[in-house]
Subunit: 342 residues, 2 copies
DNA sequence: CCTTTTTGATAAAACGTTTTATCATGTTTG
DNA sequence: CAAACATGATAAAACGTTTTATCAAAAAGG
């Protein structure tokens, strides 16, 4: 059992009140002697205030909730690292909830965090679907603490957001392929209900449309933001299209696709160009270094954490939407289209 | 403000006691009517018990602390995922503490977790140094809840441990290089005070000794388990040794080393063979797929979580040491030594 | 009809803090 | 010397639960 205020009070023959006052450095009248005595005994007994009790009375837990789809995904773990770093330097701890891209877990997660009295929630909205957003929005509005969404901005939710300009990211990626002369460009998307997916899809469509290229639905393949999803989608692309370029909605799926292509002895970028999204650490170190859209995960996390801290410290401060602009990192996986092949 | 038991009591004209009893499904005498009424109103008001209060009285928070050096490191994020999955299915949440390999943060972290009343602590001991272990061991023993160390077993700590047989892992890695005819084998270690480092060093030494090879200190280069540390170490290796093979103590540093070698136009494995440790997801997808020692991070995490749950459920259950056996995954980064080069 | 038992519900203490209001002392002051 | 004021400390309520012991009323038993 831990040492409590009462223990110190008993040992020093003082009241709990006095001990608490002194240890919290509250302005109060206490003699030099008793002050020293208390400080010394607390030190000796290695006293740490029980944060459950503190939280209960202060209605502040110095804890923030972090809801994330998949912590083993490099993008999210870097995001988490940025958040943790910022929170840590403000003496806040984070409760990590992994949703596995499951909307049910997300909903339960929010309730869990509420019941744990977190001071704020940082929510990667990846598994929110715009269709039943109104359902979530009631839930999220019922959270009395600041909520910061990362990855996307939902006006309905009426909360601050830190996001990447996904549409632009996708746009420049596809534009790059088009500039290289590609016209048959397949894409590997994320789950259709994810807004991140929808935004990137918009960018893809825009670039294609602008270039006067057709938009056959059968060039869009639904992945899951995981490696094996990318591998499977690439398999389908090979079977049912004559694409010369692939735009994968994230790097992890692009890697899966690379594996499939390699298995079929298809050369990247000679036969097929491929561009990813995220620029995770390893994308530059692949067999064929991956051309990709940069997304500064750590910085996004930091910024989200900062905004959360702001809103905790100054309740009612205005909500902000912070948008990071993407840029393309051109490596070796894309190349000008070979003279018409057939 | 959240809805409390008192709110429900007021609304139903019942006492807090009755409401609590019913909602917790405690065996007690309550009429069918009031039971239904309570259940219904709780549902309507969307009541969730305040976990701070519950934790305070039950002395159980359904929270476990996870202390990790670097969540953005693929090994640790997979470890975290395994732990979270197992904990989640038992309705426990995890508080994540990132130490940045800083022993000071680790110590503070343990105290933080204590004061937050976690039910158990899972501790990756990477930043513990065996030298001042006695210092930590007092601290850790002062934690009244189960502590599970991952990554290493310290008999002094007297707690359960889930570990990889690091010595054997290093041994088979180096043995592999020796079998390939290499004699000048450099290694890139982690921080010298880390026990993981020391164990792997032992394996390296053992393999070299068994083969009758010399052990020049200048063939050991101190890294930091991060990419840039590996890159720097490789730089030094090139300058000051004539090594034909490198054993890196983890994959991430091996990747850093690969970059350095590439920069110097040194071929892997033709000029230098390299073997890593961990087998993180991407190591098979590198420019030169990496030969490495497999370490099942997710499973190690799961097992650690299971043991923690056991010890929470049955205090005083015997401590266990669970050891995973490593195996070598041979890919393309290692090769028989070329005919004597000079 | 009085005692015992059952039924349905509650009061109160506890968990470990914080914080406000109050209370004895002793010390000035007019 | 009484009145006013400092000084050093404390009691008690509050935060939102859980849990034990208790209580009143109704039903059953003799």
């Amino acid at each position: 059992m831990s040492v409590t205020l009462k223990d110190i009070a008993r040992k020093t023959n003082l009241s709990v009140t006095t001990v608490s006052l002194v240890l919290n450095k509250k302005p109060c009248r206490v003699s030099e002697n008793t002050r020293d005595l208390i400080l010394k005994t607390a030190e000796e007994m290695n006293y740490y205030p029980n944060q459950l009790a503190v939280g209960l009375v202060k209605q502040q837990t110095n804890t923030v909730g972090l809801i994330i789809p998949d912590i083993s995904n490099h993008f999210y773990s870097n995001l988490a690292l940025g958040i943790d770093a910022e929170m840590n330097s403000h003496n806040k701890n984070i409760i990590l909830l992994n949703t596995d891209f499951d909307a049910g877990k997300l909903v339960r997660g929010i309730n869990v965090l509420k019941s744990r009295g977190v001071d704020a929630i940082i929510l990667t909205a990846a598994s929110l679907s715009p269709k039943n957003l109104s359902l979530y929005s009631d839930l999220i509005r019922s959270v009395s603490v600041p909520v910061i969404t990362v990855d996307h901005y939902y006006p309905e939710l009426n909360c601050s957001a830190v996001q990447l300009n996904n549409r632009k990211g996708a746009y420049i990626a596809v534009k790059h392929l088009i500039n290289y002369g590609h016209t048959d460009i397949a894409c590997i998307t994320g789950p259709k209900h994810s807004t991140v997916t929808l935004e990137r899809l918009e960018g893809y469509r825009l670039a294609m449309k602008e270039a006067g290229l057709p938009l056959p639905e059968k060039y869009m393949f639904c992945g899951n933001y995981r490696q094996e999803g990318g591998a499977k989608a690439a398999e389908e692309i090979l079977q049912s299209t004559k694409a010369t370029a692939i735009f994968s909605f994230n790097d992890v799926m692009a890697m899966g696709a690379c594996q499939t292509l390699k298995k079929h002895s298809i050369s990247i970028p000679d036969d097929i160009s491929i561009v990813g999204f995220d620029n995770i650490d390893f994308s530059g170190m692949l067999a064929v270094p991956l051309t990709t859209v940069n997304q500064p995960a750590y910085e996004i996390g930091q910024e989200a954490a900062r905004q959360a801290l702001q809103e905790i410290a100054h309740p009612g401060v205005e909500k902000r939407t912070i948008t990071f602009e993407p840029h393309l990192i051109i490596r070796d996986s894309t190349k000008a289209r070979a003279a018409v092949k057939d």
